[in-house]
């Protein structure tokens, strides 16, 4: 069996400018932040980022990596709006394909199932269809007289044809993983991480801790191993790899550091200071700076 262990730097080394990259998690929850920080430090550019957006989107915009974002929202959860995202949008620095949360899910699902679109009512009547003029409707082929027509109101009904959101690469963060590439999410919600991986050509996990193949059952019920190895190409052990976003049960969101991140938007000096300590550093240095910061606050 192949050993899929890799490193964050090798994951980022596989990515190219202009790629479409899916980032798992939701808002400021279980984001693969170690990879996001590595992307920020890289010379990649013109990325299309596909995410239920949080500080991953804000940081990548603030460091000029992003051409376009595909998302239903960008939020820091405990802070409603990510001011870095807000600034990028209001200054016209990024394009956006803004869609309904459910449309987004169906876009990933369609890509994972290798169909060009999935139909949904979500989006009908809304400006999602006017701000994304390439989106199309599809008419139900089951009209009056069809044995498959259950609800007469659905005869020839027009629905949104949510296109597959195909990803060149996807990265998600898990609580545990094994050397073969199975991933375990001990937090109560796996969000849409299996679909991000299913929608992508190259699929990567980062994880708090890697165990031997077959040992994930020791870490929690097998039902929490929701990412099986058919969905993954590489696993990088990165303790604290989702920090400062929430990654229960390993750690909660670092609200204090998130506040500092948010406050650094719109103040070039504050942003430079934040980026110097928490972005343009290795993961070891990042962890050291976070520890130092926490100890300083405790004194």
């Amino acid at each position: 069996m192949s050993d899929k262990r890799t490193t964050v730097d090798d994951i980022v080394g596989e990515l190219r400018s202009g790629m479409t990259i899916g980032i798992g998690g939701w808002g400021a929850r279980r984001k693969p932040m170690a990879v996001v920080r590595a992307l920020c430090r890289s010379d990649l550019r013109d990325l299309t980022v596909v995410a239920y957006g949080g500080p991953d989107v804000g940081l990548l915009c603030a460091t000029g990596k992003v051409k376009k974002v595909v998302c239903p929202f960008v939020t820091l959860d405990s802070i409603a709006l990510d001011p870095h995202w807000r600034a990028a949008r209001q200054q016209g620095r990024v394009e956006v394909m803004e869609v309904d949360e459910g449309m987004f899910f169906l876009g990933l699902q369609a890509a994972a199932w290798r169909v060009p679109f999935l139909p949904t009512r979500a989006g009908l009547g809304s400006d999602v269809l006017t701000i994304n003029p390439e989106l199309r409707l599809v008419r139900s082929p089951y009209g009056a007289g069809s044995p498959y027509l259950h609800d007469p109101a659905d005869a020839d009904v027009e629905l949104v044809a949510m296109p597959a959101l195909h990803l060149d690469a996807a990265v998600v963060h898990t609580n545990r993983a094994d050397t073969a590439g199975n991933g375990q999410i001990l937090a109560p919600d796996p969000f849409f991480d299996p679909l991000f991986l299913g929608a992508a050509d190259r699929r990567f996990l980062t994880t708090e801790r890697t165990v031997d193949n077959g040992r994930l059952g020791d870490e929690g019920p097998l039902g929490t191993v929701v990412l099986h190895r058919l969905l993954t190409d590489g696993v990088a052990e990165t303790p604290g790899g989702a920090h400062f976003t929430a990654n229960p049960p390993d750690y909660d969101r670092d609200e204090s550091l998130q506040k500092e991140y948010a406050a650094s938007a719109g103040d070039p000096d504050a942003w430079e200071a934040f980026a110097a300590r928490y972005v343009h550093v290795s993961e070891d240095e990042y962890r050291a700076h976070v520890t130092e910061r926490t100890e300083r606050a405790a004194r």
Partner: protein
């Protein structure tokens, strides 16, 4: 805690408490559906409804589970009793089955119930970027949807919203049967009154004004012309039981008064 209003010493409740009761009323008769309230006042409203006249409501813990009962708004996670898992992927099964009544916030709302959560100004480069359309497009065409607007003004109650996120009646009609089949924008509750769309053209109607609010105040704070019935009534007062539940059980820390002052 302010138990009475300085401007209306005859009233037994604060404005925030009127708003909670008005939100709770949105779920009257809802039966066994998921109530998804956004914001402190709607959250208190859903819990109050569940503890009184809508006991079958299904509430989530705000994360990935359904919770038993209706606990105080400031409960710790450890105090929650969970009855079932409800990860976000599963929430869409509920949304698209129609067994849900959400109360979302609205940065802007217009006279046929279009709501905006996305951006103020042109979408390609907004004057003010908001949170994003979130689930509003899909919610509004799949199950009953209500809105909570804590700051009723001509900037929030507008003639036309800048980015239609939640779909109103006119837009649903124009989009065809796929949009109208399950479309049901029920109520709008603001800090000034309660509104619905139970008019021939589905134009927003003043359903009730909160105690202490004049109809003229509402008209002056609304950019479009509302339908105002001759016999429009005051929002009902909380019952003594409701006030007691709210003040001693659900919100002893009076978080409701931080959202709405009176």
């Amino acid at each position: 805690m302010t138990a009475t209003r300085p401007d209306r010493p005859d009233l037994p409740c604060t404005r925030a408490e009127s708003c909670v009761v008005a939100c709770a009323e949105a779920w009257r008769g809802a039966g066994e559906v998921m109530a998804s309230p956004f914001g402190t006042i709607p959250s208190l409203g859903a819990r109050l409804a569940k503890l009184t006249f809508a006991p079958d409501l299904v509430l989530t813990d705000g994360e990935a589970a359904l919770m038993v009962g209706a606990l105080p708004i400031e409960s710790r996670a450890a105090d929650l009793v969970r009855e079932a898992a409800m990860p976000y992927r599963t929430v869409f099964d509920v949304v698209w089955s129609g067994r849900r009544h959400i109360m979302m916030m609205a940065s802007q709302i217009d006279r046929t119930g279009n709501q905006n959560l996305s951006a103020i100004g042109p979408h390609h480069q907004p004057k003010v970027q908001l949170i994003g359309v979130r689930g509003a497009p899909g919610n509004s065409v799949n199950h009953p949807t209500s809105y909570w607007v804590p700051d009723h003004s001509v900037r929030t109650f507008v003639e036309h919203v800048d980015v239609v996120s939640g779909v109103g009646y006119g837009r649903a009609l124009a989009a065809g049967s796929g949009a109208t089949r399950f479309h049901d924008v029920r109520r709008v509750v603001s800090n000034l009154g309660v509104f619905d769309f139970e008019t021939p053209e589905h134009i927003m109607r003043l359903r009730s004004y909160h105690p202490g609010v004049a109809v003229g105040d509402i008209v002056a704070a609304t950019s479009f012309s509302l339908v105002i019935p001759d016999d429009v009534a005051e929002t009902r007062l909380p019952t003594p039981e409701e006030l007691d539940l709210l003040r001693t059980v659900l919100d002893p820390g009076a978080r409701r008064d931080r959202d709405i002052r009176s």
